[in-house]
């Protein structure tokens, strides 16, 4: 069962058993966003607080909580994400999300037509420190589970967009 050990690394199971930042925040002031994985029925709720919404992408995430239910991959990915983003600016989190997704072999199409810019940005993103999140690299071998791993991230992105637009 070597394939399984690639998927279920010990640190993933640890985050699944003891999820970080589990719970709720008062909303408002926090933004509350729900995400669904229609394939497996996972539901995730992300609560996110920023210091100053008027700062746009420079705003700092002061607190984050994760609710909902899901499989070990979606839950551990969201748990690691919550630990990784707290205290960081929205801009930094966008970069981190990009490098996480690129590890999941998801390359979102940029709006800019200039291919060189894209490549340069990707290189920057790849250099960002993923830390514990590296443990999720094995998910790529199980394509069905990529949606599980990215559920929390997509939900957070939506939350961040809402946080600075409100």
């Amino acid at each position: 069962m070597s394939g399984l050990e690639d998927l279920y690394r010990e640190i993933i199971l640890d985050h699944y058993r003891s999820p970080r930042n589990r719970g709720e925040l008062d909303s408002p002031p926090a933004v509350r966003v729900e995400g669904f994985n229609p394939l497996c029925g996972d539901e995730i709720v992300v609560y996110v607080d920023v210091d100053d919404a008027t700062k746009g992408d420079a705003a700092l995430v002061t607190d984050i909580r994760i609710g909902g239910q899901g499989c070990s991959i979606s839950q551990s990915s969201a748990s690691m994400m919550s630990a990784a983003v707290k205290g960081h600016s929205i801009g930094e989190i966008r970069d981190l999300t990009k490098s996480f997704k690129s590890m999941m072999s998801i390359h979102e199409e940029g709006l800019e037509a200039d291919g060189e810019t894209d490549a340069a940005e990707e290189l920057d993103a790849a250099e960002l420190e993923l830390g514990d999140l590296e443990a999720l690299r094995g998910v790529v071998k199980f394509p069905v589970r990529i949606k599980c791993a990215t559920l929390g991230w997509n939900t957070l992105q939506q939350g961040l967009d809402e946080a600075i637009s409100s």
Partner: protein, 423 residues
Amino acid sequence: MALEQPKLQNHPSDDFDVLQIKRDFPILARRVHDKPLVFLDSAASSQKPRAVLQAMDCYYETINANVHRAAYTLAEEATNAMEAARSKVAAFIGATDANEIVFTKNATEAINLIARSWGAANLAPGDAILLTHLEHHANIVPWQQLAAERQLEIRWIPLTQDCQLDLSNLDALLEGVKIVALTSMSNVVGTITPVRAIADAAHAVGALVAVDACQSVPHLPTDVGQLGADFLTFSGHKMLGPTGIGVLWARKELLEAMPPFLGGGGMIVDVRLDGFLAAEAPHKFEAGTPPIAEIIGLGAAIDYLNCLGMDAVRKHEIALTAFALRHLSDRFGDRISLYGPQDAELRGGVMSFAFDQIHPHDLSQVLDQHGVCIRPGHHCAKPLMRLLGVGATARASWYLYNNEADITSLGDALEDAGKFFTF
């Protein structure tokens, strides 16, 4: 008639030889992750016996031509083969007239056809539709779409603790109802519903009954007359047939009065600049070239099932379901929760369960490493999931080609998953 039906091996019904049956299904010989395939996801889609694959090949190799309206031999033979399959389908569900069988692309389309054609012609603002908490999204969403457009009310038959329909308030629920749409067997928890009793009560207040029989037609003897149904829908691919073919059965007078669903070729007798004249049923509802090979494949699947006998299939599945309930609860005790009726006679061979607090998606991933195919998720029944208080379940479902060894393999794989995810 050039279409030679592949020879079927005869399986005497008093000797249900699953090992022999397994040999009729080529895919069951394959290995997954170097383990023998243990296929326990037939509620989603069944495997196909060689006879079905051969019948479809035979069509393409010997008589392939578009059906109807051609005078050459191939077209006539293709038409005959397709219409012969229509007769087989009718006989299989106890319909008296093959023209009561409408071919659709799947059961979902068949239900949409009822909602869009019969529903649109017969339902007015304030009318009510009665569904149950067991329904598949395919038997919910088309009615919700119609209800939103027509200001209809949707009501729900609730469930008892063990996922049977709670009919204690049925008379009140039926007030003002024009159609009851219900499953005959839950695709999540296996509950067989008392269609006849509900149909009698519905008819007494002038309501019609549409039965989503996707899970029951493949597994139980079916007689539309005995069920008291007005409409019955099911799909080919869950009953040993190919994908891409579904069936709507409706009483002839209903079909005759219903307006066409999709428009196009094949569903008309005349088209002029100022309008068209619709064909008779069933052709009125079969616009465009039908899935001819799939219809012929479905006919071959019915031959195969008839060869075994649906009473024998049901008897086998009751025994296997009873074994599964006993084996899994004896082996795992409190570690496993088996949803739905605990009496095998009251349910089909589809079983949702929770195991060791392992998320169904993770469970199914580990089981796959053992070659065991089960399905995690909401099974297109989110209202039922909410009622059960879970986001997803693991679901194992068996069929005529499964035996006790397959259930034991499921148990072994669960054991291993339990070790892997020890908390």
